[in-house]
């Protein structure tokens, strides 16, 4: 249809493009150029963000001479899968994975249970001093872990928890400021009428929490689980301080142990790196909605 439009214009005007139109064409050309540059910059940045991963994967398949080649080699001549095979036998990979998962699973359970209860108390019950106490919760968000690290260590040492998983699990059953904040924001958005109606029917606060609020909050609870999962999985400092026995090591500690050896085997380490990272990237692909909602929620509603 559009192609035929100019033909409908009077004959003598056909060869000149009207001024306004000219400006428009100019503008749209400018716009197209602009978009081109935007895509160009975005694609360059994306490449820069992806490159380290490709480098890791490529490294995990290289022989040790190829690793140190200069100029670097991107695609190894022979794919050296033995790096992976050796990675699983060079150190107790499966034991360390199991240990890591024990911490991850229990800390996730703790995070969901405690923080949803606490957030309910900070959003759905209108008690005196509530908002003043909540400021204390927010204040703890701004405290670096290092401030309490030493006394926590001494405290846990006193009760014989050093060298066990308790220091890495138990505190998660007692709330985390970030998650409380996240869940509180979500609970506040649930219409009052729902809980009021349940209370009319004789439900007490706990029933409302359990039967009305929690079922509506599955997406945000998923976000909490995912965040806690990632945090516990990638944590390094916590296990380093609180675990002393080799048999209890997490994957992170095990890998660091190999790295600190003289002349570590880098191809093998890169294979471990791939094996450790791939699962969480796959999880992310399936659950990215929850990640992104969780992050934007705290950043903008704060």
């Amino acid at each position: 249809m559009k192609m035929t439009l100019p033909a409908e214009e009077p004959k003598h005007q056909r060869h000149i493009i009207p001024r306004q139109k000219q400006a428009k064409i100019h503008q749209s050309m400018n716009k197209n150029m602009g978009r081109f540059f935007i895509y160009l910059i975005l694609i360059l940045f994306s490449l820069a963000f992806i490159l380290p991963f490709l480098w890791l994967i490529s490294g995990s398949l290289k022989s040790s001479s190829e690793l140190f080649a200069n100029p670097p080699i991107w695609i190894p001549e022979v794919l050296n899968w033995s790096n992976f095979k050796e990675a699983f036998s060079a150190f107790p990979f499966w034991l360390y994975l199991k240990n890591t998962l024990i911490i991850v699973v229990f800390s996730c359970i703790g995070a969901v249970l405690s923080n949803s209860l606490i957030a309910y108390g900070f959003s759905k019950i209108d008690w005196k001093y509530r908002d003043a106490v909540f400021i204390v919760v927010l204040a703890t968000l701004m405290m670096p872990f290092q401030v309490i690290m030493i006394p926590l260590f001494l405290q846990f040492k006193e009760i014989g928890w050093i060298g066990t998983y308790y220091p890495l699990i138990v505190p998660h059953f007692f709330g985390n400021a970030f998650f409380i904040f996240l869940l509180r924001q979500f609970f506040k958005g649930i219409p009052k009428e729902l809980s009021e109606a349940a209370k009319m029917d004789g439900a007490n606060e706990f029933t409302v929490f359990w039967k009305v609020i929690l079922p509506l909050s599955k997406p945000i609870l998923a976000t909490v689980v995912i965040f806690q999962f990632i945090e516990a999985y990638r944590d390094f400092l916590g296990p380093l301080i609180f675990l002393s026995d080799n048999k209890l090591y997490t994957l992170s500690l095990g890998v660091q142990q190999i790295m600190s050896q003289n002349d570590p085997r880098w191809g093998l380490l890169m294979a471990v790196g791939v094996a450790m990272t791939l699962p969480i990237i796959i999880i992310f692909f399936f659950l990215q909605r929850y990640f992104i909602e969780g992050i934007t929620f705290t950043g903008t509603k704060g």
Binding site: L56, I125, M143, T300
Partner: protein, 292 residues
């Protein structure tokens, strides 16, 4: 029991896990850390009260502590500023109307934040390898002789800043969400008044992003103070103490030299610095605000 009291009781019951946790895992440790900071304590013999000696030594006699403070401040002032500029730029570009492949870009920028710290270390040791690393070979392609990165006292911190930018997907997502909240009508009005892109960025976008910038700056600052694994694994504070950061030095004093009292004093100084900086960020954010 009257209604007010019952509501109070219910509220406290629900938040009771937090109250217990706060007392046991935050408040009590803070107070006891204040006590330890006034003692000499090596875990073996009983803590020995020495008043403010630890603080005096840290602030006036420990040259290394000044180096550590300088390194950490460098990461906050230089590193965080660069990260903020880059992340805002990416977010603005992503926020352009009808960008195709938005979910792809979001995934790409976010995935690095999921990588375990040890893997991060392995990755970046290799990416920034002076002779056979990716970055230097790309620089070499353009005829630039790449620096020694983690093996050079001058370039180790910039190397870590590159790594920080790579891990700042959270910030990009937060800026992106904040950009979405700026009313379109503001831009339209500015266009009618003939404002160009730069004017729009400085007079509409940045003021609109102010709360997000404040949030990211504070969490970013805390993040710098907490960052430990990177320097511990990759450089172990070196070369020449150029990457000896606050939490690494604190860790060494506590768990390698077993000076628990000295390290506790360091922890308290950290708390005070973090408080002052948070307040400064709030003040700055107010001063640079355009509306409200």
């Amino acid at each position: 029991m009257n209604i007010q009291k019952r509501i109070l009781r219910n509220g406290l019951l629900f938040i009771s896990p937090w109250i217990i946790g706060f007392l046991c895992f935050t408040a009590y440790p803070m107070v006891s850390s204040l006590y330890y900071s006034l003692t000499e304590y090596n875990l073996i013999s009983e803590p020995n009260f020495i008043g403010f000696d630890n603080y005096k030594q840290l602030l006036f006699e420990d040259d290394l502590f000044l180096t550590v403070l300088g390194n950490t401040m460098y990461m906050i002032i230089v590193g965080l500023t660069i990260t903020t500029v880059v992340t805002i730029m990416i977010a603005i570009l992503l926020n352009t109307k009808n960008i195709k492949g938005m979910s792809f870009f979001r995934i790409v920028f976010f995935i690095p934040t999921l990588v375990p710290f040890v893997v991060l270390a392995i990755l970046w040791i290799w990416v920034l390898q002076p002779d056979s690393g990716v970055v230097n070979s790309i620089l070499g392609f353009f005829g630039i002789d790449g620096p020694g990165w983690f093996s050079s006292p001058k370039w180790a911190k910039p190397g870590l800043i590159l790594m920080t930018i790579w891990m700042s997907g959270n910030m990009i997502l937060i800026y992106l969400a904040a950009l979405g909240d700026i009313p379109k009508s503001l831009y339209e009005a500015a266009s009618i008044d003939g404002a160009n892109v730069l004017r729009k960025v400085f007079h509409i976008t940045l003021p609109g992003l102010r709360p997000a910038i404040l949030f990211n700056s504070i969490t970013g600052m805390i993040g710098v103070f907490q960052s430990f694994a990177e320097a511990f694994i990759i450089t172990d504070g070196g070369p020449d103490n150029s990457t000896l950061f606050y939490s690494l030095y604190l860790y060494r004093n506590a768990f390698q030299y077993f000076n628990m009292g000295y390290a506790s004093a360091q922890a308290w100084i950290l708390l005070i610095i973090a408080l002052i900086m948070t307040m400064t960020f709030f003040k700055l954010s107010k001063r640079w605000g355009f509306e409200d």
